[in-house]
C-alpha cells in the first residue's frame, strides 16, 4: 500500500517538476521572441560636458551610458562647488535619448530656470544648474 502510493507520488513529483521546467522554458521562449521584435538601435550618441562657463571651462567627454554628477570623488563628472550635493544628478541613456535625473539633491537642479523634479530628456546645448554650478551639454550625433 505504502509502496503503491509512494510510486504514484514519485511519478507526480517528476511530472510536476517537469511541468515547472516546461512552463519556465516556454516563458523564456516567449520573452526571446518578443524581445527580437523590439530590439532597438544600440549605438549611443556620445556626450561632452563643459562646466564653469567663462574663466576656465572644464570639458570632459563620455562614451558610457551613465554619467554621475556631483561633488564626491566617485562621480564621473565632478563639480567643485559647495552648493552641489555629493551625488547630485545623473545623465543616462534610455529609449534612444539622453535623460537628466536629479538625485534628490539639497539645492536642486534647474533647466531654463525650472527645477527638475523627474527625469527629463536633454538635447544638444542644454544648460543645467546644479545648485549654483552651471554646465553645458553637447551631444555628438551617431556616425552613420
Amino acid at each position: 500500500m505504502s509502496a503503491t502510493a509512494g510510486l504514484i507520488l514519485r511519478v507526480l513529483f517528476l511530472a510536476f517538476l517537469y511541468a515547472f521546467l516546461a512552463l519556465a522554458m516556454w516563458m523564456l521562449w516567449r520573452s526571446v521572441v518578443s524581445k527580437q521584435v523590439h530590439q532597438g538601435n544600440l549605438a549611443i550618441p556620445s556626450l561632452l560636458l563643459s562646466s564653469g562657463i567663462g574663466a576656465e571651462p572644464k570639458i570632459q567627454s563620455f562614451a558610457g551610458v551613465e554619467v554621475l554628477i556631483g561633488r564626491s570623488l566617485d562621480c564621473d563628472f565632478i563639480l567643485e562647488d559647495s552648493t552641489v550635493s555629493s551625488r547630485h544628478a545623473r545623465l543616462f541613456y534610455n529609449l534612444n535619448q539622453w535623460w537628466f535625473e536629479d538625485l534628490k539633491s539639497t539645492n536642486g537642479s534647474y533647466l531654463d530656470g525650472i527645477r527638475v523634479e523627474e527625469p527629463i530628456v536633454v538635447k544638444d546645448n542644454d544648460e543645467f544648474y546644479c545648485g549654483d554650478a552651471i554646465f553645458k551639454i553637447f551631444i555628438k550625433p551617431i556616425e552613420e
Partner: protein, 870 residues
C-alpha cells in the same frame, strides 16, 4: 519586450510557484512513505515529521512572495519561482539525509528569509552597497582574517574556516563571495572609462582579489580561492568588453593546478583522485567513488525519495548532496535540478543586459556567475569532471552561511531586475554576456551528459563494483535465498523480521564454503559467488525484478539453491578430520559434483562479527578455505602423477619403471612391509621411489602432463581459488629432481586429478551447485556448459589404478607426504573407486597439516565406503 508581453509573462508567476509547491509536496509525501515502503507495509505508514520542512518552507516563501509582489512589481518573472523550487528541494534533501541538520538548516532558512525581507524593505540598498563598497569588502576580509586567529572546524578536524558564536558556526568565506562581487561591481561601474588605461582601472581590483585569494589559500580554502579567480575574470571580461580574458580561466586553472600539485598536499591528493579515483577507492577517493556509485544506483528514474542509500557517501549533506539527490530522483531529477540552476543563471545574465544602472548590471552579472560557477565547480567535482573544490552547492548544501548568502544574492538579483528599463541600457558590445551565458549553457549540458554517462551507460559496471555496499541494505529488507544440501537439508537460511533480516548458517563447519555476508566485513564464499541467485537477480522473471525495483528499490526475495553437498557425508568428513588442520574433498569422479568438503580449522559465520579480530589474526587461518585456497607442496604425490606420465609416454622415459623400494624413510619401509609388492613404494609415498621415477622421466613430458592435469591453472569454480602455481623450468627438474616435490597444488586440484584417475583420464569440472528453485516451483539445473576434459589416455589411467589398488579391490589410493616451507610434515591422500565399484564413481583428496598417514587413510577409505551406504 513589449509591456503587454511582459505583463503576460508576469501573470504566469503564480502558476510557476504553484507547480513548485506541488512537486515538492509530492516529493515530501513520497518521502514520508519511505519507511513503510521499505518494510512492504500493507497500510499507509506516514512519517509526519517530514512535512515540517515542507510547511516551514511554504510559510517562508508565502511571506516573501507577498513582500516581493508589493515591493517589486516589475521584477523578473523567473527568478523568484526558480529560487523557490531550488531552496525547497534543498531543504527537503538536507532533511532527508539528516533530520537534525535539516532542523538547523530550516533555522538558517528563516534567518535568510528575514534578511531577504529586510533587504526588500531597504529602499536605497543598492546605493548603500555601492557607496560603502570598501567597507563591505573590509568586513569580509577581516572576518576571513579572524579565522586565522579564532577559526574552528565544526567537525573538529580539517581546515579551520569557521567562526563560532553561541554554538552557531559561521563560514565567512561564503558572504565574502557576495561582498567581493558587490565591491567589484561597484568599482567597475565607476572606473571603467575610456580615458583611464586598462591597467590603471583594474589594478586596485587585482590587488583586492589577490589579497582575498591569498587569505583563502592561507586558510587552505582552495576551492573558494579558485572560485574568486574565475569570478574576477568573468567580471573583467564583461566590464572591459574583452573576450580574450576568458582564456585566463583554463590557463590559470592549469598553472594553479600544477603549482598546487607540488606545493599543497591537499591539491595533490585531489588531483590524484581526480585522475584515477578507483586506484584509491577505499582511501582518499572513497567519497568520490561512492558518489559515482550513488548516481549509478539512481539510474534514470531514481530509487524514490527515502528509498536509496545516499548516506553511504560520507558527509553527503554538504559537498556531495548532488549525488545524493541524483540517487533518489534519478537522472530525470538531477537533470531538472541542473536546468533549474541554468534558468537562474541565464536570467541573471539576462537581467544584467537589460538593467538601468551600470552597478546593477555588473552586480546581476556577478551574482549569476557566482551561482553558475559554484554549481559547476561542485557538481563537476562530484562527477569527476574536475578535481574536487569543496565549494557548496547553492541552496542545497548544508550550511547556514551559504544558504543565507544565497538568499541575499537572490534578493539582490530580484531588486536589480525590478529596475528593468522599458528599453535596456545599451551596451556598445553585448557579446561578452552572450559568451558567458553560452559557456554556462555548455558547462551545464556537459554536467548532464556526465550524469547520464554514470547513471545509464556505466550503471551496471558501477553497481557491480565491490565498493558498492548496497547489498548490505538489501540483505536487511529482502531475504536471501536459502542454501540447501542435495537432499534438501537447510545449510544457510535468512531469519528475523523485515528490516533486520539476518543470515544463519545451520552447519557452521560449512562456513568456509557458504561464506558470510556482513555489512562490516563484506561477503565471501558462496554468499559472494552466488550473490546473483541468492539475491534474486538471476532466476527471477523480468517482471518480478522490475516490480520490486520500481516499488521498493529492493531486489526480490532471493532464489533458493541446492548444493551437491551431502549433509551426512559432510558431517562425517568434519568428524573424521576433527581437530586436525587440513582439508577433505569428496566428489563424483564423472560429473565433478562435490559431495563433501571440509576445511579445518573453520570459523562460524554466525559469530563472525564477534570473533572477527581474533579470526583474522589467527595463525591457523580459519578464514581460509583450505580446499581451494591452501597451496600445499605435492610432495610424494608426484608418484601417481609420474606413474601416469610413464604409462602414457613409456617411450619418453629413460628406462624401465624403476623398482621402488629400499629407501631409508618410514614410508618406504611401510611399503615393503605392508604390501611387499614392487610398486607399493609408490603407493605409500616413498621419497626414494619418487626421486627414481622423476629421474627416469623426460622433464618436459612430465611437466606438460602436470599442466594437462590442471596444476598450473585455477579450476573454474564457484568459490574463490588461490592463484595457480607457476610451471617450473624443465631444466630445473632435470638438475634438481627433488624440486618437483615442491610444486604447489590445492586439495581441490588434487581431488580433480584423482577424479581423472577414477574416470579413465577425463578430468571433470568441480560443481558445488546442483539446482535452483525456479519461479514455477521446479528445481532447475544450473546451465553449466563445462564438460570433462581428456587429460591422458584411458589405458594409462587403467594401469595406474591397478598399480594403486588397495586391499579392497573396489578402491585405489595413494598416500603421500611433503615438507612445507616451515619444515612441517604435510600428509596427502588421494583415492577413488575402481571398475569393481558398482555405484557412482568417486574421487577424494585429503590433506592434513601434520604427519598423520593413518588418519588420512582412514578418512579417505571411510568416506569412500560410506558413500555406498548413503
Amino acid at each position: 519586450m513589449s509591456a503587454k508581453a511582459a505583463t503576460r509573462l508576469h501573470s504566469k508567476q503564480p502558476r510557476l510557484l504553484a507547480l513548485a509547491a506541488l512537486f515538492l509536496f509530492f516529493q515530501t509525501a513520497a518521502l514520508s512513505l519511505a519507511n513503510g515502503t521499505r518494510i512492504h507495509s500493507e497500510t499507509l505508514q506516514l512519517d509526519w515529521l517530514v512535512f515540517v520542512p515542507y510547511f516551514v518552507w511554504l510559510g517562508g516563501i508565502l511571506v516573501l512572495h507577498k513582500a516581493v509582489r508589493r515591493k517589486l512589481p516589475n521584477r523578473d518573472p523567473w527568478i523568484f519561482p526558480t529560487f523557490t523550487a531550488l531552496v525547497g528541494w534543498g531543504l527537503l534533501s538536507v532533511w532527508r539525509l539528516s533530520p537534525s541538520l535539516g532542523q538547523k538548516q530550516l533555522g538558517w532558512f528563516l534567518v535568510g528569509c528575514a534578511l531577504f525581507w529586510l533587504g526588500l524593505n531597504t529602499n536605497r540598498l543598492s546605493r548603500l552597497l555601492k557607496r560603502y563598497k570598501y567597507v563591505w569588502l573590509l568586513i569580509g576580509l577581516l572576518l576571513i582574517g579572524l579565522t586565522f586567529i579564532v577559526g574552528v572546524n565544526p567537525t573538529g578536524a580539517g581546515p579551520r574556516l569557521w567562526l563560532e558564536a553561541f554554538g552557531f558556526y559561521f563560514q565567512p568565506s561564503e558572504p565574502l563571495k557576495l561582498l567581493m562581487i558587490v565591491y567589484l561591481a561597484a568599482f567597475f561601474a565607476d572606473q571603467i572609462k575610456p580615458n583611464i588605461t586598462l591597467l590603471g582601472s583594474v589594478l586596485p581590483t587585482l590587488i583586492v582579489t589577490a589579497t582575498a585569494g591569498f587569505l583563502l589559500i592561507g586558510q587552505r580554502d582552495l576551492g573558494t580561492a579558485s572560485l574568486f579567480i574565475c569570478l574576477y575574470v568573468l567580471m573583467l571580461t564583461v566590464t572591459t568588453q574583452k573576450r580574450r580574458f576568458l582564456w585566463l580561466i583554463p590557463l590559470a586553472g592549469i598553472v594553479a593546478g600544477l603549482i598546487g600539485y607540488f606545493v599543497f598536499d591537499v591539491v595533490r591528493v585531489r588531483i590524484d583522485i581526480w585522475l584515477d579515483p578507483w586506484a584509491q577507492a577505499s582511501g582518499n577517493a572513497y567519497q568520490l567513488v561512492q558518489a559515482q556509485i550513488a548516481i549509478a544506483a539512481g539510474g534514470l528514474a531514481g530509487t524514490g525519495p527515502g528509498l536509496g542509500s545516499p548516506l553511504f557517501i560520507p558527509v553527503a549533506v554538504s559537498d556531495f548532496i548532488f549525488p545524493a539527490v541524483a540517487e533518489e530522483t534519478g537522472l530525470l531529477g538531477s537533470s531538472a535540478l541542473i536546468l533549474l540552476m541554468l534558468i537562474l543563471v541565464v536570467r541573471g545574465i539576462s537581467i544584467a543586459q537589460s538593467t538601468k544602472t551600470t552597478f546593477g548590471r555588473y552586480l546581476a552579472f556577478g551574482i549569476a556567475s557566482y551561482f553558475g560557477l559554484q554549481t559547476f565547480f561542485i557538481v563537476a567535482g562530484n562527477l569527476g569532471l574536475l578535481p574536487l573544490t569543496g565549494v557548496t552547492f547553492p541552496f542545497f548544501s548544508y550550511g547556514g552561511s551559504s544558504l543565507v548568502t544565497n538568499l541575499i544574492a537572490v534578493m539582490l538579483l530580484l531588486k536589480i531586475s525590478s529596475e528593468l528599463a522599458a528599453e535596456p541600457l545599451p551596451e556598445p558590445v553585448r557579446q561578452p554576456y552572450r559568451w558567458v551565458a553560452a559557456i554556462f549553457l555548455i558547462l551545464f549540458i556537459l554536467v548532464i551528459a556526465a550524469s547520464s554517462w554514470l547513471a545509464i551507460i556505466r550503471q551496471e559496471e558501477l553497481l557491480a563494483k565491490p565498493e558498492n555496499p548496497r547489498w548490505a541494505v538489501y540483505d536487511r529488507y529482502s531475504p536471501r535465498g536459502r542454501i540447501l544440501s542435495q537432499s534438501g537439508e537447510e545449510l544457510a537460511i535468512t531469519t528475523g523480521e523485515i528490516g533486520s533480516y539476518k543470515r544463519e548458517v545451520l552447519i557452521p563447519s560449512l562456513s568456509n564454503t557458504i561464506g558470510y555476508t556482513s555489512g562490516l566485513y563484506g561477503q565471501d564464499g558462496l554468499e559472494l559467488s552466488q550473490y546473483q541467485w541468492l539475491r534474486g537477480y538471476s532466476g527471477r522473471s523480468y517482471d518480478t525484478l522490475w516490480k520490486y525495483q520500481m516499488f521498493y528499490n529492493q531486489p526480490p526475495p532471493g532464489v533458493d539453491i541446492k548444493l551437491n553437498i551431502n549433509a551426512s557425508l559432510q558431517t562425517t568428513a568434519d568428524a573424521l578430520l576433527g581437530e586436525e588442520k587440513g582439508a577433505v574433498v569428496l566428489l563424483n569422479a564423472t560429473t565433478g559434483e562435490i559431495y563433501a568438503m571440509a576445511s579445518h580449522p573453520y570459523y562460524d559465520a554466525n559469530t563472525l562479527t564477534e570473533n572477527w579480530e581474533q579470526l583474522s589474526q589467527d595463525a591457523d587461518a580459519p578464514l581460509v578455505n583450505r580446499i581451494t585456497q591452501a597451496t600445499y607442496p605435492l610432495g610424494t604425490l608426484v608418484n601417481s602423477l609420474g606413474l601416469a606420465t610413464y604409462y602414457n609416454w613409456p617411450q619418453s622415459a629413460a628406462g624401465a619403471l624403476p623398482v621402488a623400494a629400499g629407501g631409508e624413510d618410514e614410508f618406504c619401509q611401510a611399503a615393503s612391509t605392508a604390501y611387499g609388492e614392487e610398486l607399493n613404494g609408490y603407493q605409500s609415498g616413498c621419497e626414494a621411489a619418487a626421486l627414481a621415477l622423476i629421474q627416469n622421466l623426460d622433464p618436459v613430458v612430465f611437466l606438460d602432463q602436470l599442466e594437462s592435469f590442471g596444476l598450473f591453472s585455477a579450476p573454474a569454480f564457484s568459490l574463490r581459488t588461490s592463484a595457480p602455481g607457476e610451471k617450473p623450468d624443465p631444466a630445473v627438474i632435470q638438475t634438481k629432481p627433488m624440486s618437483a616435490l615442491e610444486i604447489q597444488a590445492t586439495p581441490l586440484q588434487m581431488a580433480l586429478i584423482a577424479a581423472s584417475i577414477t574416470n579413465d583420464g577425463l578430468l571433470p569440472s568441480p560443481r558445488l551447485r546442483n539446482t535452483y528453485l525456479a519461479e514455477d516451483g521446479q528445481w532447475t539445473a544450473f546451465r553449466e556448459g563445462v564438460f570433462p576434459v581428456r587429460v591422458i589416455e584411458s589405458g594409462a589411467m587403467d594401469r595406474l589404478r591397478t598399480s594403486l589398488i588397495g586391499n579392497d579391490e573396489a578402491f585405489w589410493f595413494q598416500s603421500g607426504h611433503a615438507q612445507t616451507r616451515d619444515g612441517k610434515i604435510l600428509t596427502w591422500y588421494i583415492g577413488g573407486t575402481t571398475e569393481d565399484w558398482v555405484a557412482t564413481p568417486l574421487a577424494i583428496a585429503v590433506a592434513i597439516e601434520s604427519n598423520a598417514p593413518d588418519l588420512a587413510q582412514t578418512i579417505g577409505s571411510s568416506l569412500l565406503s560410506l558413500f555406498a551406504t548413503e
